[in-house]
Every structure is written in structure tokens, then in C-alpha cells.
Symmetry: C2
Subunit: 337 residues, 2 copies
């Protein structure tokens, strides 16, 4: 066990798009675990769009990262020392802890990875928060019916890629919107959505229209902004809009520009627009994870991971989410994984 390790500290709140200067790398002594604690070597760190919200001061659904503290997020690690019953050296654990190479943890919110036949990095993606977000957002908020056309934005992302596949499992037609030709090919050819369009294509709204000849029954929105406005124009009778993320807005300060008011059309079309958080369904996470794991095992649910190598690149990986550099789940591999 090294006597020192590196960690990231959040040193300033960004205005608008983060630059990376919000974080500082430092080296600190590695503590020994006290009774009831374990020491974990971090193997993988998850970066997720919701973290942009944690960079802001003030209350939100996730507590803000405090300046001067180590940012926390999803991670996979290996127990190297344990003074806590139920954890032993060599155990692979998934949970939420700080961006540091070695973490002393009390076991709270920590799970021993339960499926030896499946990669524990899935616990940060399809079998973790993003997969659960897709599952509950689509099934409980979107409530798709067989035959529905389900459109998902950020379709190549960690959540969107699961949403479209679950929609197909539910007997729906899945249409993805993504930000590049490469992502569109992934969504169509690997994830097997029925159709996919790139909003970078100048003709993309015509392509969306062609992909949804009967309109959009469920729109699972991860992005907001102009992409969402284009989908809103094509909602079908009794459409449901699942508001999951608004990444197009996360780096904007002040009121966001909008070009249309779509509220009026909710009446004649009886549209329902509803936001949710995955934590609202916490009591049912275990049930959903068993189903998701079964679909992964049977090959009905597939994904991709985009891996950035090296602990020193965690902020870079996070910033990449806002430029759309990831396909599928964005992870950082910490040295030695």
C-alpha cells in the first residue's frame, strides 16, 4: 500500500462551460482504516452529466460539491484493507466516493459487486444509475405501450442507449437522436434502434419526421434546447414527455433562450410532460437491476464504454460529456485496473 495517493479537489465554481480549472490535483497521505472502515483502491471513476448541477451553489436534488472538498461520484474499487465485517481484501465494490486513488470508506452506500460473470463497470452504466434512470423513466413515467414510437435524445449516451433498447423490449419503435454520424451508426447498428438521426445534419428534422410517420408517442428527453423543440413539434395525441436531462442547458447561466411556446398544444393533444429522479424509485432499484442484468446476460441489452485512461484525466473526461465526445458510458480507468 502506497503511503501517499492523489486526489482531486474542487477549487472554484464555473460560470458557463467548465474549463478544467475548477479542479486541482494534490497528493495526500493514505490513511489506515479505523474500526468499521475499509480502504479501497479506486479502479474506475464514473463521470455523469448531472455533475454539472453539483458544481453550482445552492440546493438541488444532489448536494452541491463544496469548494475545497473532494468531488464525489460513482466509482468501482477493490478492497485493500478492511476493519468492517462483510468486506475483505480483494472484494470488488461499487458505490459513491471521492475522486481519489485510495479511499477510506465506512461502507455506507457501498455494494459488493454481486455478479462475478459481469464486469463491475456495468455497475456505473447499464446496471447502475444510468440503467435505472432509463428503466424507471421509460417504464414508470413514459409508460410506453406496444406500438408506440419512442424517441430518445442523447441516444448514444449512457441513459439514452438503454432507453431505446428497453423501448424495443416493450414492443415499441425506438428512434434515437444523437450528435454525430458515428453515434447514429452505433445507435442503429449496435443498439438496433429502428431509426436514428443526427441533429448535426442540416436536414435532421425532416429525417426525424420520416422516422416518426405517426408522430412521437413518448419522448425521453436528455438534452432540452432546440433538439427538444423540434421533437415537441411532432408529438402525437396523448404523448408523454419524460424529462430526464437538459444537458443543452447545464452550462448556460441565466434564462435560456427559447424559440417557441409549446404549452398550448398540450391541451388539444392531451400531452403529459413529467420530470423524475431515479432516486424516487430507490425501493425498487434491486428489482430493476435483476431484470436489467438478465437482459444483459441474454444479449438483449448491449452497450459501449468510452474509457479515458488515467486518474489525472478525470476532469477532462467530465468536460468531454458536454462536448459529446463519449459514445455510451464515459469512464475513467485509474492506473492498475
Amino acid at each position: 500500500m502506497a503511503s501517499t495517493h492523489r486526489r482531486w479537489v474542487f477549487v472554484r465554481r464555473p460560470e458557463g462551460m467548465p474549463t478544467g480549472a475548477e479542479f486541482r490535483l494534490e497528493e495526500v497521505p493514505t490513511p489506515d482504516p479505523d474500526p468499521g472502515q475499509i480502504l479501497v483502491r479506486t479502479r474506475w471513476i464514473s463521470v455523469d452529466p448531472y455533475m454539472r448541477g453539483r458544481m453550482r451553489a445552492g440546493p438541488s436534488y444532489a448536494p452541491p460539491w463544496e469548494v475545497g472538498e473532494v468531488p464525489r461520484g460513482g466509482a468501482v474499487g477493490e478492497v485493500v484493507a478492511s476493519r468492517r465485517p462483510g468486506f475483505a481484501p480483494g472484494d470488488v465494490v461499487v458505490g459513491t466516493w471521492g475522486w481519489e486513488e485510495m479511499a477510506r470508506l465506512d461502507g455506507h452506500g457501498l455494494t459488493r459487486w454481486p455478479w462475478p460473470d459481469l464486469s463491475p463497470t456495468l455497475g456505473l452504466g447499464m446496471l447502475g444509475m444510468p440503467g435505472l434512470t432509463a428503466y424507471f423513466g421509460l417504464f414508470e413515467v413514459g409508460r410506453p405501450r406496444p406500438g408506440d414510437t419512442v424517441v430518445v435524445s442523447a441516444a448514444a449516451g449512457a441513459v439514452g442507449s438503454v432507453v431505446g433498447q428497453l423501448a424495443r423490449l416493450a414492443g415499441c419503435r425506438a428512434v434515437g437522436i444523437a450528435g454525430s454520424a458515428e453515434k447514429v451508426a452505433f445507435v442503429r447498428d449496435v443498439l438496433r434502434f429502428d431509426a436514428a438521426v443526427s441533429y448535426q445534419d442540416p436536414q435532421w428534422t425532416a429525417a426525424l419526421e420520416a422516422a416518426c410517420p405517426d408522430g412521437v408517442d413518448v419522448y425521453f428527453d436528455n438534452v432540452g434546447g432546440s433538439v427538444t423543440e423540434a421533437v415537441m413539434d411532432r408529438l402525437a395525441l396523448r404523448a408523454r414527455v419524460v424529462v430526464c436531462g437538459q444537458i443543452a442547458r447545464y452550462n448556460q447561466e441565466g434564462p435560456a433562450p427559447v424559440t417557441r411556446d409549446w404549452l398550448w398544444q398540450t391541451i388539444a393533444k392531451r400531452i403529459r410532460v413529467e420530470g423524475f429522479l431515479v432516486g424516487d424509485f430507490a425501493l425498487r432499484h434491486a428489482e430493476a437491476l435483476e431484470r436489467l442484468a438478465a437482459w444483459v446476460r441474454s444479449g438483449r441489452l448491449v452497450g459501449r464504454e468510452t474509457v479515458v485512461e488515467g486518474f489525472e484525466r478525470v476532469p477532462e473526461a467530465l468536460l468531454g460529456l458536454f462536448r459529446g465526445t463519449n459514445v455510451g458510458k464515459q469512464l475513467v480507468r485509474v492506473a492498475g485496473s
Copy 2:
């Protein structure tokens, strides 16, 4: 029975705010009823905001009024001749027919007024479409819980005035938004909402804030536009927005200006925004009307009618809705009522 009567014909579609030139009054021979038909003398005509939508071409939830035809809407009349079983001269009927002094009808959608102790004009207001809209919109879409703060826009109107009173019956705090000091006094002193504010008051958003110290749990929206944007800024956790009407938008052509994008906040607050039409609940109208009638009889549901005198003033009464000249239900009394 007169051998001729007057009727209104819809002669042109408006662009923007109607002027009255959309309608032409003409005199026509009064027909005799054929077998299966009745002849009705129109006593009261209802004008309603949704009629603006019927002035537009193209499909909507209500069929458009066709140029060259007689506009149709809610009315109360008296049977003067009947060749249809179940209807006799002297019967008071409520239903939907054309803007004409004498109407030959086949009985479809026509109801003999069932409550001799209650004014049949209530069948155009609290015990008709507006009352049912309030009932199902609030109870089925808004789903208020005791203790909720329910805000309603156009609170002095035919729908809004019922919404707030029903909210109080459901154990909620009712806050009304209206467009004049007179309407605010009516909402507060006659309808007995807990609070009311006028959006004409420059300080009105501060007054709204003071009236809703814990935020807005249910917003029943009849107006849209800037009033709605102000309420959207004050929604509470798990708020429900019932989209019933958007009168601020009805006379705008093309995209409506908006100043904010509130979609992002639906996530953290788990807001549900949902449109509806009263016709969706048609199978349950009778049940709701019995309850509403009981509340009217017991004095727990009160209202006001604004009456314009004279058949020749039907278009004027309709246009008044868009200028907010009515308090409560706007009716036209046809000569001889």
C-alpha cells in the same frame, strides 16, 4: 311562431384578434319541424374562449366553424313545436346548436333541463361544460391533496371560479389570479378563495409569492403567457400543472414569444404538466353534474353571470372574453327570455 328569424353566419376567418367582421347577421324563413325533429326558440347563448380555436381552419379538438355556415355553441332554449317523442312544447332544453333565434333540431346532444329548482343557464356554466372542465381538470389531472396550494388563472372566469371553490372543498388553499381589482374582489369576497391577485398590479408577482409561501402545488392554467411564466417560477416539489386554456395565445398568429425555458426545472422538482379536454371524461359527466348540482344547492358553489342583452350582440359578447370584460360566465340573453 314568427315566419322568419335571425341567425349569425361566419363569413371570414380572423387573423389575430377578431373584430366582429367575422360574422354577418341575416334573416331567414323559420322551418317547420319534420318527423323526429323539434323547433326550439333560443333563450340564451353561451360564448366561450375555446370558440377562438373554432375560427381557425384545420383540425383541432373541436371541428372548425366553416365559412358560410352558422357558428354552433352552447345554448338554452324552449321547445315550441315537437315531432319527436320525449320533447313537448314548453320544455326547457340545453345543448349545442347554431347561433339562431329559432333552431330546428333532431334532439342529438340535447338535454331536457333536469332540475326545475335551478336556472337552466347554469347548464352553460357551473352545471355545464365550464363546471365539468373545472371538476375533471382539477380532480383528475391536478389530483389535489388536502393542504395543497392551488393557483388558478382567469380565476373570475366560468372555469376558474369553479376550480378555486372545488379546491377548497378538497381541503386545499385556493389562490386566484385575475385581471382587475373588481375581479379580485369577486374572487376573494364572493367565491371565498383564500387569496387573489391581479396581474394588472405592477407588484403582482410579489403578491403571488406572499399568497403562496410554500410554493404552488397545483396550477390550473387557463391563460398561458406571462402569467403562467410567473407561476412556473414558483412551483413546489411535485407540482402539477393542469393545462386547460391558453387564452393569452389564442389571438396570436405564429410562434408565441416566450421569455423562459422552464423545462429544466421539471426534473429536480418532479413537475407534471398535463393537458386535457373535458370530453375525455364524457362517460362520467352525469356523475360529476350530480355532485356539482348538490354543491350549488347547498351554497358551497356559487357563481356570477355576465349577461349581454340581445341576439344581435353575440359576436360582441364573444370578443369581450378576449378583452376580459366578463366576470363569471358570459351569456347572451336572446329577446324574450
